[in-house]
Amino acid sequence: MPMLEQAMIQAKGFRNAGSGEERTGFEVRIRSPYYRGTWTNLIDGVRVEVDGETFPSESIVWSIEGTDYTAGDLRDSETARWPLTAPATLRVPKPGGLSVGIHDVTVALSFRMSYIPVELQPQTWTASRKATIVR
């Protein structure tokens, strides 16, 4: 199995989506900070920030092992999973994409854990890094 970077936000896979003048957004790849794979229902949302601009969970499309999921798809599927060692690509809409160069990227990812009292849920992991758009 391919090894991932230790950081939740991977340097690999951070790129603009769409081509040339038709940039439609960008993608950021993450590895799961949890110690297990989960049914996707347990993902309670993700927030992406780039250079201070926030992109809400409902606008982001996930791609896991080649299948795309909206936030609603993740919530509603009875069978979809996010395996522990499979990176997820977050497709974020942003007309024009991101400029070439270094960006400050933050991802806040939440899971619902049934074995922790509901009052203390969800659990949110937050990671920040500088990541580079090459083209």
Binding site: T38, R75, S114, E119, L120, Q121, Q123
Partner: protein, 304 residues
């Protein structure tokens, strides 16, 4: 002294959370476990099985070849009852039963003897979702057929003297089953909190209004004596063993006294839960096994 303890030593792959998929794969972890002298390997079904819940024949064959080559015994398969999987309703008995059945069948195909369902809770003081008893009872015949013991985990901040444990013991009493028992996570005996660091990651629980978790120490090791007859497995949770081979968080000498006194011959399966820094688990696991192997003969000797 090189006397082997009466109990058996294993390692949970949970220990390698800071390594798995980053610097180590399943084979690397298994080789590390064999190299440090343990004979048992514990996994998390949803964590470490590629393709869960649909296992390929190739993966199953590879697993059996791996543990045979390294002389490892599959011990416990960790599973979950995600009772709050859906936002608008809780899990039904039928759904819970199906989930546990699925995991018992997978565990059986991989040669495991124990399945630990981590059960969702319904209160701030960790009362398990009431579906648990019927979910377990509907799976007892299957577990018996597959030579698997179902064991819920007694995990901090649940204590041994608790309604949850009383209810688990009542199920054994009521059904007379030998396919259900207690799993003690040694973290219940923690003397103080270890605050884990994980480079580059901040973790935040919700901030709802429930009574604060108790301040350790909460569970005296003595309480273990009362339930040892029903303990089928230990997760030997630990966080940090220092350069003098001292664990300031878990009272191993006292725990091993009770284990030795009871004549327990089952597994102590290490669960490293310290700082999640790659390559750290391998060293800490060796320290813990050196500590346990050093302490165990003298505790048994003290009883003679």
């Amino acid at each position: 002294m090189s006397t082997e303890p009466a109990f058996k030593l294993g390692v949970s792959l949970y220990s390698y959370t800071g390594d798995f998929g980053v610097v180590m794969d399943l084979e690397d972890c298994a080789e590390d476990i064999a190299d440090l002298g343990a004979t048992g390997i514990e996994i998390l079904g949803e964590g470490h099985i590629l393709g869960y819940p649909e296992l390929s024949t190739a993966w199953i064959d590879g697993w059996h070849a791996l543990v045979e080559r390294l002389g490892l015994t599959p011990t416990l398969y960790g599973s979950w009852l995600d009772t709050r999987r859906h936002l608008d309703r809780s899990m039904t008995v039928e759904e819970g039963t199906a989930q546990l059945t699925l995991d018992i069948e997978l565990a059986s195909r991989l040669g495991f003897s124990f399945v630990r369902p981590k059960i969702g809770v319904v209160t701030g003081d960790l009362v398990p979702d009431p579906i648990w008893s019927e979910v377990v009872e509907r799976n007892l015949d299957l577990a018996h057929d597959r030579n698997i013991v179902i064991c819920p985990e007694i995990h901090w901040p649940t204590s041994i003297r608790s309604q949850a444990v009383d209810d688990y013991l009542a199920l054994i009493e009521r059904t007379g089953t030998t396919s259900f028992g207690l799993l003690i996570d040694t973290g219940v005996f923690q003397l103080s909190h270890h605050r884990r660091t994980e480079p580059g990651l901040r973790s935040q629980l919700g901030t709802g209004d429930i009574p604060a978790f108790p301040t350790p120490p909460v569970v005296p090791v003595n309480d273990l004596r009362d339930v040892m007859d029903q303990v089928v497995y230990f997760q030997a949770k630990f966080h940090e063993i220092d350069d003098q081979l001292v664990d300031r968080y878990i009272p191993w000498a006292e725990i091993l006294d009770v284990v030795a006194e009871s004549g327990y011959t089952g597994w102590l399966s290490s669960e490293y839960e310290g700082d999640r820094i790659p390559y750290r688990a391998s060293d800490q696991l060796r320290r813990q096994h050196a500590l346990i192997r050093t302490l165990a003969p003298s505790r048994v000797g003290a009883l003679a």
